[in-house]
Amino acid sequence: MWAQEVLALSRRWLLMTLRERLNLLFSVLQPAVWLVFFAGSLGGAMDARVVGTTDYLAFAVPGIIAFTVVGNGVSAAMPLLFDKETGYLDKLMSMPIRRSSLIVSRFVFQMGMNSAQVLVILLVALVLGVRPATGLAGVLAILVTAALLTLAMTAAAMALACAVPSHGTFFAVTGFASLPLLFMSNAFVPLTAMPAWMQVVARANPLTYAIEAMRLLMLDGWSAGLPVAMGALVLASALLLVVGAWQFGRQTSERVA
C-alpha cells in the first residue's frame, strides 16, 4: 500500500514535469551548455599546474553535475511549496496516506530525473572527448554519488520549504544561497587554489565531498580517497535528511500527525 502511494504521487510529479515541455527542455539543455562554455572559455584560462590536470573539461564535469543537482534541489521542493499554498497539502493530509510517502515520492522522482540528467552530461562530455578513468563501473559510481547529493539537496530544500512562510522567502533564500554554495566548494577550482579561510568553509560543504568523489572517479580511477569522500557525503546526507524530516514533522504537526 505504501508502494501504491509513492507510485501514485510519483506519477503526479512525472506528469506535471513532462507536460511542461519547455521547462523540461531547458533543464536538460542547461548543463550541456555549461559544459561547452567551460570547455571553450574557462578551460583555456586555467593553469594545469593549479588544476592538477591538463583536461579541465574532465575536471569540470563533476562541478557541473553538482551545479545541476543544486539547481534541481530548488525545483524539487517547489511542489511541496505550492501544495502548501494552494491548500492541496491539506487535501493530501486528509487522506489515509503515510506522511513519509509525500517526501519519499519526491526523493524517488528527483533521483530518477537527476540520474537522467547526469547521464546526459556524461554523454555530452563523451562527445567532447572526456571519458571517466573508471569506465562504465565509474559511471555507475558517479550516478550513486549524484543520487546521494540529490538526497542531501532535496532534503535541505524541502526543510526550507516547510520552514518559510511563503514561496517569496523560499526563492529569496535559495537565490542567495545557491551560488555561494557552489563557489565555496571545489566545483570549479581545487581546494588548494583557495585562501585558507575559504578552504575551511569548503570542507564543511557537502558539495565538496560529492565533487571530490566524482572527480576521483573521472580523473584518477579507484583511489583510496574515494571511501573517505563518500563517507563524508553519506554523513552529510543523513544529517540533512534528519533536518528535513524534523521540519516536515513540524509543518504537519500543526495539523494532526
Binding site: 500500500m1 501504491q4 502511494e5 507510485l7 501514485a8 504521487l9 506519477r11 503526479r12 506528469l15 506535471m16 507536460r19 511542461e20 505550492f82 501544495d83 494552494t86 491548500g87 492541496y88 491539506d90 487535501k91 493530501l92 493530509m93 486528509s94 487522506m95 489515509p96 496516506i97 500543526e254 495539523r255 494532526v256 500527525a257
Partner: protein
C-alpha cells in the same frame, strides 16, 4: 447504532481568539446535517478538526466511533472531504481523469480497480466527456463537481462538504444537490457547511447554526421556522445571528 459524528464540547483557539467554542454536534447514519453560520463563525475550523487536519484545543470529536486525534488514520479511511477552497494549481497540468486516478490510488482503491472506479465517479458527476481535459481549463462548476467525485472514490461513510456549491450557477447547484440526495439514499452521512439557506433547507435533515464558534440554535428546518413563525430559513438565520457584518465586529 453508533453515531457517525459525535462532537462534544469541542473548542479550538488561535492565540487569544476562540474560533470554535464548546461546540456539540451529532449525526446519525444516513443523516444530512447542516452547519450554518456567518463568515468566520467557525464552520471550516470545525470541519478541519473533523477531517483530522487540526488538533482541537479541548473537547472530543469522534467520527464513526474513532477519535480524530488518537485514531486519525481510522477516521481518514472513512471520510471524504471536499474543501471550501479548490485551487486548480493543486493539480496543475493534470487531466480530470489523471487527478481522479491518482487520488483513487492514494485512497488505496485496489490497483486493478483504480481506472474503473475513477471512471465511475466521473460518470456520476457528469464529467466523463471532459475527463481528458486539463483541470485548469475546467469551469468553476466543473472543478467543484470534480472535487465531489474525488471525495467519493473510497465510498466514505461520512462525506464532509465545505460550501460545495459556492460560486456555482443554478444548473450546477441543482446537479450537485441531486448527487448529494442520491448518496444519502445509498446511506451515506453528510456534513454540509454552507452559507446558502435554500441549500440547507432542501438538503438537511437537521441543522446547527453557529456564531462566534458557539452553537446558537439546532433543529430540523421545519422546527426552526415554526419556532419563530418564519417562512424561510433566511429569516431564521438573521433572527438568530443579527444583521451586523462579522468582520467589523471582530
Amino acid at each position: 447504532m453508533g453515531m457517525i459524528i459525535d462532537v462534544e464540547r469541542l473548542s479550538r483557539r488561535f492565540g487569544q481568539s476562540t474560533a470554535v467554542d464548546e461546540l456539540t454536534l451529532t449525526a446519525g447514519a444516513g443523516e444530512v446535517v447542516g452547519l450554518l453560520g456567518p463568515n468566520g463563525a467557525g464552520k471550516t475550523t470545525t470541519i478541519r478538526m473533523l477531517a483530522t487536519l487540526l488538533p482541537p484545543s479541548s473537547g472530543t470529536a469522534r467520527v464513526c466511533g474513532f477519535d480524530v486525534v488518537r485514531a486519525a488514520g481510522d477516521v481518514r479511511l472513512r471520510i471524504g472531504y471536499v474543501m471550501q477552497q479548490v485551487s486548480p494549481m493543486g493539480y496543475y497540468m493534470l487531466t480530470g481523469r489523471e487527478k481522479t486516478e491518482i487520488e483513487a490510488a492514494l485512497y488505496h482503491v485496489p490497483r486493478k480497480r483504480v481506472k474503473a472506479r475513477a471512471a465511475e465517479v466521473l460518470e456520476l458527476v457528469g464529467l466523463s466527456a471532459h475527463a481528458d481535459r486539463l483541470v485548469q481549463a475546467y469551469s468553476g462548476g466543473m472543478q467543484k463537481r470534480l472535487e465531489l467525485a474525488c471525495g467519493l472514490l473510497h465510498r466514505p461513510e461520512l462525506l464532509i462538504l465545505d460550501e460545495p456549491t459556492l460560486g456555482l450557477d443554478v444548473q450546477s447547484r441543482h446537479h450537485v444537490w441531486d448527487h448529494i440526495r442520491q448518496l444519502c439514499q445509498e446511506g451515506m452521512t453528510v456534513l454540509l457547511a454552507t452559507n446558502y439557506m435554500d441549500e440547507a433547507d432542501r438538503l438537511c435533515d437537521r441543522l446547527t447554526i453557529i456564531d462566534h464558534g458557539r452553537e446558537v440554535v439546532s433543529g430540523t428546518p421545519a422546527e426552526l421556522k415554526a419556532a419563530i413563525g418564519a417562512d424561510s430559513l433566511d429569516e431564521v438565520f438573521l433572527r438568530h445571528t443579527g444583521h451586523a457584518l462579522r468582520e467589523e465586529a471582530a
